[in-house]
Symmetry: C2
Subunit: 370 residues, 2 copies
């Protein structure tokens, strides 16, 4: 007996940040969060899950290399939970005993060094749900692998409600990807990254030592979630951009309040140059927003109408060459639309790559064969 | 009629930070703060105040150059308040009508670029109090010029109680400078500083935009003030050091939460290297603490017994030469006591100067002539 399913899943970028866990085993967050799911064309994980009675044990192959998963708690939690749920189904009992072969590849540009756990675990959860015919909210299965993976199950803007237990900490779509189709996303890949602190460890250290984190959770996040939902539904770019930047600033304020501080390795001097660039670029009108996660790369948001101007101005100030730009659609940069901005003087080449993308759909089954 | 008085006044380094004003005109802070007054030998302002009926108007000479004080609100507020208080005295009325000549010099190493407003206004307040025989708490007069100047009126560790009105926002000594005579202070002067944001402007921007600042004021500072007083009175270096670092981290977390963020220009990549260095240096035992104000320079605290080791380890990792060290006492660095620390690799010369100092006495009259 042999059964096989292939899925793709996207990454997502948080605009209201997830930082801190209430429960490390089940990845229950201290606060709700909101993200945009990105188009899978440039950044996705593709996974083929095969059940075959001839396999002796579960196997994982990642980008062509076999991984030892015996001590990988995140994978084991997902597989165990999927099998527990499968046993409730009519024919699930027999399937759940069969070993899985998971073959997964990321199509991320190699240089990017982008985190792939969100797309990876969303893809695995989608495969497991499909192969075992699970009739549950798969975002909770993805969440067991990586908290933010739950937000990659749906497309467009997604809210992860913190919930209070493993069964109600779920992601839900706010609006689909075509609701705000003018929105664009630029991932600025920073060169010379330092060895970083894994986000799980960073969150733990913040939760243990940052008094400001507790105050943020209890006093700030809920109203920002509501405000952000309003900005997204109303497609109010200025409101969306300001709140996105303030949320990024506050996440890194928490990292700075952590003892010892974790900024750097998270935001570094290039990241701060990007903040200054965007601040000055927005001087007369808010046309772009930055956001940073547990690393030094920036993600920028802008509207389609300002895309060329922003990209060519970035190219000018950060000495980016055409060959370093990865784009999903044909991009016409023959007309240089760069503008001059004040007080920004960046001479060194500190960005390695720019990936131009937009919102997209969630994890998807692309084939299912028995 | 001619009357003249000369005073010296020290700078001070906050260990519980002052950030945010409740009243900009009277410099009433949003929270109480604690600082150590530094020895005047290497860092002080010396001011001679002369009253002479032959002067036509008030004059200020700073480091040999005459300044236009007609639009300098800070100076004008101090002079006006001193004259108002003088008029209450027996012979004050006639003195208060006479013009002042203020001649002020700072003995700070030129390269340091250290802020001199605290020592400057403390020195002016001391001169005014002496010349007009003012029988009031002079810390409130100094505060009108620069908030943190009130803490330079006393020696040793000083607490500035926020108060609720101009008359009760006053500084008071916690312990004199000889209480914890083993404590040492190293000022690390960072090279290539960016143009900074003046602290008054930074505080205003934080008070207007940082939600975390409000939460810090209402929930965190008071307990830290009590904890810090305990650590100082008990001479508990580990407790003092941790709290000092956490306070510095939190000030810069607030600066990062400010919109747009002010870190940099405050802490820059060199500042972050110093934080990492101290974090690693303290790995087995807390032997040093860092603190940063509205700039990129660091101030380190250590105990006398660890002084040579810390300084020679700094010299090694930051390529500091003997000629760049300014010290009040004869410093024997012939025996290199540097240690190896992990994961710190600083190749570029990013520190310009190290000033080695300790706690000292407050603003002092050095001559009074009629």
């Amino acid at each position: 007996m042999k059964k096989s399913v292939t899925c793709v899943a996207p990454i997502n970028i948080a605009v209201v940040k997830y930082w801190g866990k209430n429960d490390e085993e089940f990845n229950i967050p201290l606060n709700s969060s909101i993200s945009l799911t990105l188009d899978v064309e440039n950044l996705c994980t593709q996974t083929t899950l095969t059940l075959d009675t001839s396999f002796g044990k579960d196997e994982l192959w990642l980008n062509g290399l076999q991984q030892d998963i015996s001590k990988n708690n995140r994978i084991q939690r997902c597989l165990k939970e999927a099998r527990r749920l499968a046993e409730k189904n009519s024919n699930g009992k027999e399937l759940s005993d069969i070993s899985c072969k998971i073959v997964s590849t990321n199509n991320f540009p190699t240089a990017a060094g982008l985190a792939s756990s969100a797309s990876g675990y969303a893809c695995l959860a989608k495969c497991l749900g499909e192969i075992f015919n699970l009739e549950v909210d798969l975002s909770s299965l993805a969440r067991l692998g990586s908290g933010s993976a739950c937000r990659s199950m749906d497309g467009g803007f997604v809210k992860w409600n913190k919930g209070v237990s493993p069964v109600d900490s779920l992601a839900e779509q706010i609006v689909p990807e075509d609701h705000w189709s003018e929105l664009r996303c630029l991932i600025l890949v920073v060169s010379n990254k330092q060895k970083s602190v894994p986000s799980t460890e960073g969150m733990r250290r913040s939760a243990e030592t940052s008094e400001l984190l507790k105050l943020r959770i209890n006093n700030i996040v809920e109203s920002r979630i509501a405000e952000m939902e309003g900005a997204i539904i109303g497609k109010n770019f200025e409101k969306f951009a300001k709140l996105t930047m303030k949320e990024s600033n506050q996440l890194h304020a928490i990292c700075q309040d952590t003892y010892p501080p974790i900024t750097p390795p998270y935001m570094n001097s290039t990241s701060h140059k990007i903040v200054k660039f965007i601040t000055q670029y927005n001087e007369l009108e808010i046309k772009a927003a930055y956001t940073f996660d547990a690393g030094s790369n920036a993600v920028l948001f802008t509207l389609d109408k300002n895309m060329k101007e922003l990209l060519s101005t970035l190219m000018k100030y950060f000495s980016i060459e055409r060959k370093d730009i990865v784009s999903s659609s044909e991009l016409d940069l023959s007309i240089n639309e760069s503008i001059d901005i004040k007080d920004v003087n960046i001479s060194l080449r500190c960005l390695e790559q720019v990936i131009v993308t937009k919102g997209g759909k969630g994890a998807t089954v692309i084939s299912n064969a028995s």
